[in-house]
Each structure stands twice: as C-alpha cells, then as structure tokens.
C-alpha cells in the first residue's frame, strides 16, 4: 500500500525556490544548455489557474517535467521546474522546447510537458500535459487520441508571441482541463 497523499496546504511556499521556474538559469543544472542543444529552442510556458467559480488560484504550486530537445530524459538536461502561481493566478517557466518522446509499443509521442498541480483544497495533486499547437505529431499522439476531441484543446498551448506558449488550467467546470490518472 502506498502512502496516502495529503494536501500541500496554503503554506507550501517554504519549499518555493523562485529561480526553479527558470530551467535555463546560469547556476542551475542546465547552465549552458541553450548552446549545447543544436536547435534547442528557448521557450516560455505560461498560463493561469482558475477554480470552478472562475476565481484565480493564487496559492498553487505548479511543477513541470519534460524531455530535452532530442526527446530524451537520460541526457544532461533536467526538465524539471517549479513555480508558484502569483496574485493573478499566473505561472511562467523558461525552458527549452522538448522533442518527440518514444511512447509505448514503438509509437512516438508529440512534444509535451507533464504538469503537476498542488494546492490547498487538492487532497492529492493533479496531473495534466501541455502540448504545442500546430505540432504535426499531435494528430497521432497516443495520449491525445484517448481524449475526447472536444476536450483536447484544454491540453494544447497556443503561442501568444513567438516562443511564448499559453495554457490556462481550469480545475473545475466549463472547459475543465483534462486531468490524467497515471
């Protein structure tokens, strides 16, 4: 039996290290990565978190985990970030765009970012994914194809300006984000 999850509560910021939202920070594990990865595209991932009333969730911890630009998890790049939502319910990460990752049974997954959401009121964390709009592999992605077509848009980030991708997370209600059970 695995240990039960318990809410992170509202005071989890004691383990918030704001620099962790910048995966490319000079003193972090990926220092120099933008130069190391030929074609590694620097991106910003941003969004807001809202609840079932549409109210901003201003006390959440958002974590991301994703592959390197070559689609690998076993290279030098560490695709982990953590960010607190701010007074406007916003989160924002700087990283390199991941490449396609092998799926089960010789399939290929579209580039994606795993997202974990922790907050007061979440007895266990929520998991979802961010995909990138206009990515040809989205059409054949094994996970996206399990999602009803009308809800897929809740997983697909759209560009605001080049290199900046926006994905809003709605915990509950209309246009509720698709969450995953792993």
């Amino acid at each position: 039996m695995s240990t039960a999850h318990q809410t992170s509560g509202p005071f989890w910021h004691l383990i918030d290290f704001p620099e962790w939202a910048d995966l490319l920070r000079a003193d972090g594990p990926n220092a120099g990565a933008p130069q190391t990865y030929a074609g590694g595209e620097r991106i910003t991932l941003q969004g807001t978190v809202t609840d079932g009333d549409g109210a901003l969730v201003t006390d959440a911890m958002i974590e991301i985990w994703h592959a390197d630009p070559d689609g690998r998890y076993d290279g030098a790049f560490q695709g982990f970030g953590r960010c607190a939502t701010d007074a406007e319910g916003r989160f924002r990460f700087t990283t390199l765009k991941p490449g396609p990752v092998p799926g089960r049974g010789n399939t290929l997954q579209a580039p994606h970012v795993q997202i974990a959401i922790f907050a007061r009121g979440l007895l266990r964390h929520l998991t979802t994914r961010l995909y990138f709009a206009e990515e040809p592999l989205n059409e054949s992605d094994p996970l996206l194809s399990l999602v009803p077509p009308e809800r897929r848009c809740t997983l697909i980030a759209t560009p605001t300006v080049p290199g900046t991708w926006q994905l809003d997370i709605r915990l509950q209600g209309g246009a509720e984000t698709v969450f995953l059970e792993l």
Binding site: S2, Q6, L14, W65, G121, L123, E176, F179
Partner: protein, 233 residues
C-alpha cells in the same frame, strides 16, 4: 527499447478523494470530470535528480536554537515492492512550536520564531533512510469549520524514480486528539492507510540527553503486478 512497467493503482479507499464534503476548499477546486487513464511512458517513468545541499538540522538558525521541543524524525522510503529509494530528495516544511508558519500569508496570532524557518531538505541513503532534526510543530487553527484546528503535522514532498511516483503528504504524531476531528486526515477512508500517516515514537532514533525520535516510513507506488492488464490504457 522496452516499454516502462506501469505503476500499481491504489487499493480503493487508501488514497483521499479529490472532492470531500467536509473539506471546504475541495468544493470549487476538485475536477468534476473523470481523469483520462494515461499509458505510462518515459515521461511518467523518469524523474529529476537533484544535486542540492541538504539541510538536515532545522532546530537551529544562525547559530541559535529554535524554541520548542527538539525532535529527530527518521524513516525509510521504499516502493510497494520494498525496494529502497536511494539518493532521493525529501523536502519538509512545517509550522513552528507555536503553530505558526514562517509565511507571509499565515496570520495566526502566535509568535514567530526568528530562529526557525520550518524548511528542510534531506536525501535518502543507500538503504532508503532519511533523517532530520527539527522542532515539534504546534497545532494551528484553520477556517474550514467552527473551531477547526489542524493536528500537529509535518509536510513531506518526495520524488520517486518516476514522475508518476511524486508524493506530497503529511506526517502526524501519535496520540493527537485532533486526528479524530480533522477532515484532511479523515478524507482517506481506509483506517490502515490513515494509520500509516502517523509516526511512531522510536527509542532507537531518540538520542540521549538531546531529542525524542520519531519514525515515519514512506511507501511510494511500486510496479504493477499485472503489466499486461495495465499496459494499454
């Protein structure tokens, strides 16, 4: 490359639900739709490794002892198969002895302790053991219902070897009368699962003339026993 082994699913009742009638903050934050069962891929079966300094003594700050009862908390981190998690980061955070967090949003009328930040970080050893020294936290009020008080607890954050093993939980203390009244603790239906969130007093961890010891073992999800059934979602 062979496919990653899927993780075991929780025995019903051993994990809290997302929506809980008696925990008010869940009402507008718990999703209403069923989650999509996702196949386990490299994304879920890999996790970050942290090369960070540990901070195992939370009982002192700037050379000054924090106020309160010093305690040692130790335990093993294993997966459900009994395999120790090695070199795994364990983050902890908690209120001070008076029941107040060193946090701008905590406005409970209890004193802050300038020598207690309430944040720690340790790493498991080769056998999965972690250990830190801290101050026994105090109970604190929350506004969930009339006269609501959280039982004494320490928050834990763990990473397994896969992001699907990520765990944030709370450690409680034996004999706390508030446990029987706490909607967060009680949200997990299975009594055995709840008991595993309560540390036990441990004389072997206790250090003479220094501090009482508490043992808190943590189990992360293990591999599924039925990979073929679980494999294709």
């Amino acid at each position: 490359m062979s496919d990653p082994i899927p993780y075991a699913r929780a025995i019903p009742g051993t994990q809290p639900p997302l929506d809980s009638a008696s925990y008010g903050s869940t009402h507008r934050r718990a999703p209403r739709q069923e989650p999509i069962r996702a196949p386990v891929t490299l994304t879920e079966a890999t996790s970050p490794r942290f090369a960070l300094p540990s901070h195992a003594d939370m009982s002192r700050l700037d050379g000054h002892a924090a106020m309160g009862e010093r305690i040692i908390v130790a335990g093993r981190v294993l997966d459900e198969r009994g395999t120790p998690l090695r070199g795994s980061m364990v983050e902890v955070w908690q209120a001070n002895a008076a029941g107040r967090y060193h946090h701008a949003r905590d406005q409970h009328d209890a004193p802050l302790d300038p020598h207690f930040s309430g944040q720690g970080r340790v790493f498991t050893d080769e056998e999965g053991w972690y250990r830190f020294t801290t101050i026994r936290p105090g109970a604190y009020p929350w506004r969930n219902h009339h006269n609501a008080w959280r039982p004494v607890h320490i928050h834990f954050s763990l990473f397994g070897q896969g992001f699907a093993q990520r765990l944030v939980t709370q450690m409680y203390f034996p004999g706390d009368p508030l446990l029987a009244l706490d909607p967060i603790f009680l949200a997990t239906a299975d009594e055995k699962a709840r008991e595993r969130l309560i540390a036990s007093f441990d004389l072997d961890i206790t250090q003479p003339e220094f501090a009482l010891g508490y043992r808190f073992d943590i189990t992360l999800r293990g591999p599924s026993a039925t990979p073929f059934e679980e494999g294709e979602a």
